[in-house]
Structure formats: C-alpha cells, structure tokens
C-alpha cells in the first residue's frame, strides 16, 4: 500500500440512547466503505442501531491552546444554568 486510506470518525446510536456518540475512528477509501467497516468494527457485539461516519478531515475542532478564551469565561456564570425551574416528573430526557 503506497498510500494510506483516509481517516473516518465513527458515531453510534446505542439501542437505548438518543444521541449518536463518538466511538472511534477507522480507515476507508470512501464513506460507503467506512460505513461497512464501522459496522464490522464497532457493532460486532450488538452495540448500535444507527451509524454515522464523517471524514476526519471534515471536522473542525477547537484547539487545546484556545481552551481558556473558549471555555473559561462561562465557568463563573451560574445564572446561565436553569436551576431555578422545577422539572415536571413526566418530562424525560432533560
């Protein structure tokens, strides 16, 4: 192999879950093959009911260097947490 296949990130939605969760990454020639590989690598033990794959190159990520300007300012603003509301018992998933 003269050239490695590009990297894809894999997201699974578990049976009882609501969200797709990042579970790992893999190499594939294109998105369709990535989906096959994800099925074979990450759902062998009945983990998921839905798979997303995304080319790793298409993900724009925040950098660790920007951690403070990005996240520190929200650390001391308790009033942004909606802790003053009563949540009714029959409202799930909050």
């Amino acid at each position: 192999m003269t050239q490695d296949w590009p990297l894809f990130e894999v997201f699974l939605r578990p049976k009882r879950g609501l969200n797709h969760v990042h579970v790992g990454s893999l190499h594939a020639a294109d998105a369709q093959m990535a989906l096959h590989h994800a099925r074979d690598l990450y759902t062998r033990r009945n983990e998921g009911v839905s798979i997303w794959v995304v080319a790793a190159a298409d993900i724009t990520a925040s950098s660790p260097d920007e951690k403070d300007p990005f996240f520190a300012p929200s650390g001391d603003k308790v009033y942004r947490h909606p802790t003053f509301y009563e949540i009714p018992d029959d409202v799930p998933h909050i």
């Binding site: 578990p14 969200n19 096959h36 033990r45 009945n46």
Partner: protein, 277 residues
C-alpha cells in the same frame, strides 16, 4: 444526557434471555433449549442429509475464509472477513447439530471425525483463493446462491431448519453486500485490479454450475449480472467441472484441495480426541 448514551454500557445487561448473542459465552449445544423433535410428515433422513450438506458447505468455506485472516490488505477488512467466517461457522454449528439430532452424532463428531468421502459440501467451497479478487468473487457467488437457498428453506416444514435459514438470511445479505461492493471496486478500478478480478471469476466459474442443482438459478443470475455490469466485468463463459463417475461434492467426491482443508481442520481434534476448550 442519560448514561444510556454509551453504546458499550448496554452490552452487559441487554442479552439476558438470548445467550446466543455471541458465540463463546459458555453454552455447549447451539440448539440448547430448542424443541428438536421432527414434525409429522417430515422425512427425517432427507432432512438430516440436507442439514449435513448445508452445514458442510458453511464449515469448509468458513475454514477457507479463516485462512485469509492475517493476510487481508487492511486491518478493517480483516475484521470484516473474520466476522463473515464466524457467521458461517455459526451456521455450520447449528446445521450440523440439527443433522446430529437425527443421526445421533454430535456436531464435533460430524466436523472432526468424518473422512473426506463422508463430507457432502459442494466442490465450490474447497479451494483456497489465490488473491483478494478471487476471494471476493467467490464470496459474492457463494452468498448470492446460499441466500436464494435460505429464502426457500425459511419456509421449510422443519421449524428448526426454517429458523436457521431465516437467521442466516440476514447474515448472507450482508456478506453479499460486502462482496459485491468489492467486486465493483476492483472491476471498476485500475487496469490491474480489473484484470485480476476478471481472472478470479474465470477460475471460480467451472464450479458454479454444481451450486444450482438444488435452487433456481434465474434470480441469482439477475443479481450476479447486475454486479458484473456495474463493475464492467464479463460473465465468464467456462465449461462446468465435470462430475467424477456422475458424482460431485454432494455425493462425497471432492477436489484435491479438500484433503488439505480437512487435514488442518481436523488435526487438533484427532490428536486430542477427549480435549475440551
């Protein structure tokens, strides 16, 4: 966000009743807990012969696929192939166990202590594929044929065989999908990949006729021709491998390759006949 969002957390508790969700978790009999009595009106000998033939197909072919593990071009493909080989091994276990309930032998006895002429697999599954193109070509044809067969058997008068066929059909649909994707990629790829894909099909083709002695070919041909057309490949025009004295794999007459499979498959069990693992 609930804790259920982690796909791996549900593994521990989701499978309570269904202990067959993965092989190797401690159960011995693949048909444990299933009513294996033969329904009235079913010819037990014919049923045993049918299960034996289909079980042998899966057992021998699974072994040939397993021999490719550690030789695949990419790690991801390796897992894919191991999954497929394991699916077929699972089918072999259930089918041999079903045959065994009728002829009074265990699945291990049937797999490890029969001689070559007692195996009833088609000759198509015996050969070791020389390259990856041949491997995916053979897998495409095998899965297409076996899927057609299992769709018929899902209506079998024997509820055990019908259930095995219904479960296996889902597995085979994926195997066919996986193989078709690669046949198209290689056929529609570079000059080199196209040449080798075509060459792989030419090698396999003489063994294809034998498959369709027991199931209608028209439906399978539509699938294969569609894949070949998409891949830009020619349907091979090769004479079928002749029977030997009118007998083929289903009659216990095999190709030279079969002895090598059995030697490797059976040697450990025969060297240590009482061993458990």
């Amino acid at each position: 966000m609930s804790t259920d969002d982690n796909p791996y957390e549900s593994l521990a508790d989701e499978h309570g009743e269904d202990h067959r969700w993965a092989f190797g978790t401690g159960f011995v009999d693949p048909l444990e807990g299933i009513d294996t009595s033969i329904p009235a009106g079913v010819d037990a000998d014919a049923l045993a012969a049918q299960c034996l033939a289909l079980g042998d197909d899966a057992l021998i072919y699974s072994h040939r696929l397993q021999q490719w593990v550690t030789r695949m071009p990419e790690l991801e493909e390796e897992t894919a192939l191991a999954n497929i080989a394991l699916d077929l091994l699972g089918q072999a276990r259930m089918l041999l166990a079903r045959a065994g309930t009728i002829v009074g032998r265990s699945e291990d006895e049937l797999a490890f202590f029969r001689a070559e002429h007692e195996f009833r697999n088609v000759r198509f599954v015996e050969r070791l594929d020389r390259d990856f193109a041949e491997l995916v070509g053979r897998l495409l044809i095998f899965a297409t044929w076996r899927l057609a067969l299992f769709e018929q058997l899902a209506g079998s008068a024997d509820p055990v065989l019908a259930a095995i066929a219904a479960k296996g059909g889902k597995e085979l649909t994926y195997h066919r999908d996986y193989a078709a994707q690669w046949v198209v990629r290689l056929g529609d790829g570079t000059d080199e990949s196209k040449r080798r894909m075509q060459a792989g099909l030419e090698v396999i083709w003489p063994l294809v006729d034998e498959l369709f002695a027991e199931v209608d070919r028209a439906e399978a041909d539509v699938v294969l021709d569609t894949v070949f057309a998409t891949a830009g490949l020619k349907r091979p025009d090769r004479a079928a491998l002749a029977p030997v004295d009118r007998r083929t794999g289903r009659d216990g007459v095999h190709t030279e390759a079969m002895g090598y499979v059995l030697a490797e498959l059976q040697s450990v069990a025969r060297a240590h006949p009482e061993a458990t693992w």
